[in-house]
């Protein structure tokens, strides 16, 4: 089923991943992407009938914690690396309704 994605399709992926479509070496990126995609397409021929997907390797379950507070950060610790602040808020460009 190996099939190259068009530039337009790859650009959609780039935006979905919030990378820039204005990359310098965009053509190289698209080319590499298609090469790797063709490589992993090798799996399409593997027979996996009746095989359950493996998401958690040790099949452990029911790991939870009690409802207790602790291990918090102060506002200053939490915002230690925040470059754009307004008081204890984090600032971002004005969000236009419906964006994202």
């Amino acid at each position: 089923m190996a099939m190259n994605l068009s530039k337009e399709e790859v650009l959609k992926i780039i935006f979905l991943a919030r990378l820039s479509t204005k990359e310098e070496n965009l053509d190289q990126m698209i080319n590499d992407f298609n090469n790797v995609l063709n490589y992993v397409d090798a799996l399409s021929k593997v027979n996996v009938d009746n095989i359950e997907p493996l998401a958690h390797v040790h099949e452990s379950y029911n790991i939870y914690r009690e409802d207790v507070c602790g291990n918090g950060l102060t506002t200053e610790e939490a915002l230690l690396n925040t470059s754009d602040r307004s008081g204890s808020f984090i600032r971002v460009p004005l969000i236009i309704e419906g964006e994202s």
Binding site: M1, L5, V10, I13, I14, F15, L16, A17, R18, L19, S20, T21, K22, E23, N25, M29, D32, F33, N35, V36, L37, Y39, V40, D41, A42, L43, S44, V46, V48, I51, E52, P53, L54, A55, H56, V57, H58, S60, I63, Y64, R65, N71, L73, E77, A78, L79, L80, N81, T82, S83, D84, I90, V92, P93, L94, I95, I96, E99, S100
Partner: protein
């Protein structure tokens, strides 16, 4: 004191406890060697003040006979692991100035043993790579030969031991990132069973595959380090409640009755001949130590690399979503819209290989492709795991193989060919897919004096057998005693 860097952790412990030298002297020695080996580019950040202050505290404790396993011993940490108050860059431009506000659990554990942390080692950006060339802070050189790569992604953590700058380090292993650089640098390192060591505070690359592990100059040191790191962490739901054995306890036991499996899929054409013969000789050596060798088959081995390059990028694309430039990390300036801020901050901050994997991961999870790629890969992952389960259930106790198909390759020789680079991890990747423990121990050199590693894979939770086997092998050969110290 010039040979302090040649002592093992055990010897350092004795020397410190007997006041033959102080932690301060030891730490200063380590810092001096780091300073005189800058051309390796193995550290991203060295923290002399913090290290010397910790050494002073350690000396006081030694004076008071309040001694733990690592009291006063200098260690270095892969810069993927968060250290409170110290920069943690993940070798990414995105996190160039990121100061962690909390410690990873493994750091807390090392500090609880009074270890002295001297700095943060270089790596492939976000642990994505096999050569340490994908670092925003430049590649690391292999101490054995400066024109070669040290391996990756824990390249810095391997190089600093090989060069005799510190005696033990932390690395992380998602597809071979501890074992492959160990093999390239003639040191030893273990990827524990998935769930054995907490991932809390370790920047996630591929959450279902990542595991922290120690790297050291010899197997006994490795066991000492592993003792300090293991255990259930309430902050990591995937860490497992199991009693941590004393990993040094079985070292020195003989190998009678041990069954060593040799998977035919791991001894294939295309492996460098010297690598193959070194590993075959190592297996013979194990046989002479009492083990029996059995041929085994892991038929799904060939599917492991493509499986990995679907699962790991998928998880990575998700894990790296938090690097959006808003709360921490690189924030592009002059962006008028939120979308611009996201795209520019990320595009500026991430290197090419990270972008490749984010794109691939985004694609394989996207609507319409999930079943064909991600779900399919998860099913093949089970096939790979089933292969191991089967042979461990009836055929053997450990599996022996090469760590990598070749010895260390030339810097810049593979960066432009991602698939060629990916194939480097063909023998290490299946282990992560199956969640098993595995280690690398030196087993020879090629004609260019480049190191070769023996790969030992164990049953889940059976690090003890791996260490016992590696220790017996190491003690019966000279490979681990060879060094390239300058």
């Amino acid at each position: 004191m010039t040979n302090l860097h040649e002592l093992s952790l055990k010897q350092l412990r004795t020397g410190l406890d007997n006041k033959e030298f102080s932690s301060k002297e030891l730490t200063e020695h380590s810092l001096a060697r780091i300073a005189s080996h800058q051309e390796l580019n193995a550290f991203i950040n060295v923290t002399p003040e913090i290290a010397l202050a910790a050494a002073d505290v350690a000396d006081q404790k030694i004076k008071n006979k309040d001694v733990k396993s690592l009291t006063g011993i200098p260690l270095a940490i892969k810069d993927l692991i968060l250290t409170k108050g110290i920069k943690t860059t993940c070798a990414s431009k995105f996190l160039e100035n990121f100061v962690a506000p909390y410690n990873a659990t493994v750091i807390e554990k090392l500090l609880a043993e009074d270890a002295v942390i001297v700095g943060k080692t270089n790596l492939d950006e976000f642990a994505m790579g096999s050569s340490n060339e994908n670092s925003a802070f430049g590649p690391v050189k292999n101490p054995w030969n400066h024109t070669k790569v040290p391996g990756g992604s824990s390249g810095g953590s391997a190089a600093v031991i090989a060069a005799g700058l510190v005696r033990a380090t932390l690395g992380t292993d998602t597809g071979g990132s501890i074992r492959q650089p160990c093999s390239f640098c003639s040191i030893t390192g273990i990827k524990p069973t998935y769930g054995r060591v907490s991932r809390y505070g370790v920047t996630a690359y591929a959450s279902s595959l990542d595991q922290v592990g120690p790297m050291a100059g010899n197997v006994e040191d490795l066991a000492v380090m592993l003792n300090a790191l293991c255990g259930k962490d309430p902050l990591d739901a995937t860490s497992v409640s199991l009693k941590t054995p004393d990993f040094t306890k079985n070292l020195g036991q003989d190998l009678k009755g041990l069954r060593v499996g040799m998977p035919k899929e791991y001894f294939i054409d295309g492996i460098q001949a010297e690598v193959r013969s070194a590993v075959e000789n190592a297996v013979k050596q194990l046989e002479s130590l009492g083990a029996t060798v059995v041929p085994v088959s892991l038929p799904n081995t060939e599917h492991a690399v493509p499986t990995y390059y679907i699962i790991a990028p998928a998880e990575a694309s998700s894990n790296l979503g938090r690097f959006d430039g808003i709360r921490f990390g690189n924030r592009a300036t002059g962006c008028e819209t939120l979308e611009d801020l996201y795209c520019e901050s990320r595009s500026q901050g991430f290197g090419i290989e990270v972008k490749r994997r984010i794109m691939m991961g985004t694609y394989v999870l996207s609507s319409g492709y999930y079943d064909a790629y991600y779900l399919k890969a998860q099913k093949v992952r089970r096939l790979v795991k089933n292969d191991f389960d089967k042979v461990f259930a009836k055929d053997c106790d450990v599996i022996a193989s090469p760590v990598t198909p070749t010895t260390a390759f030339d810097l810049n020789s593979r960066v432009s060919d991602p698939i060629q680079m990916y194939l480097n991890d063909i023998f290490t990747i299946p282990v992560n897919l199956a969640g098993l423990p595995a280690l690398s121990v030196p087993c020879g050199f090629d004609q260019n004096n480049l190191p070769i590693g023996l790969h030992l894979i164990g049953k889940a939770w059976d690090e003890e057998t791996l260490l016992k086997t590696a220790f017996a092998y190491e003690q019966s050969t000279e490979w681990s005693k060879k060094n390239c110290y300058k």
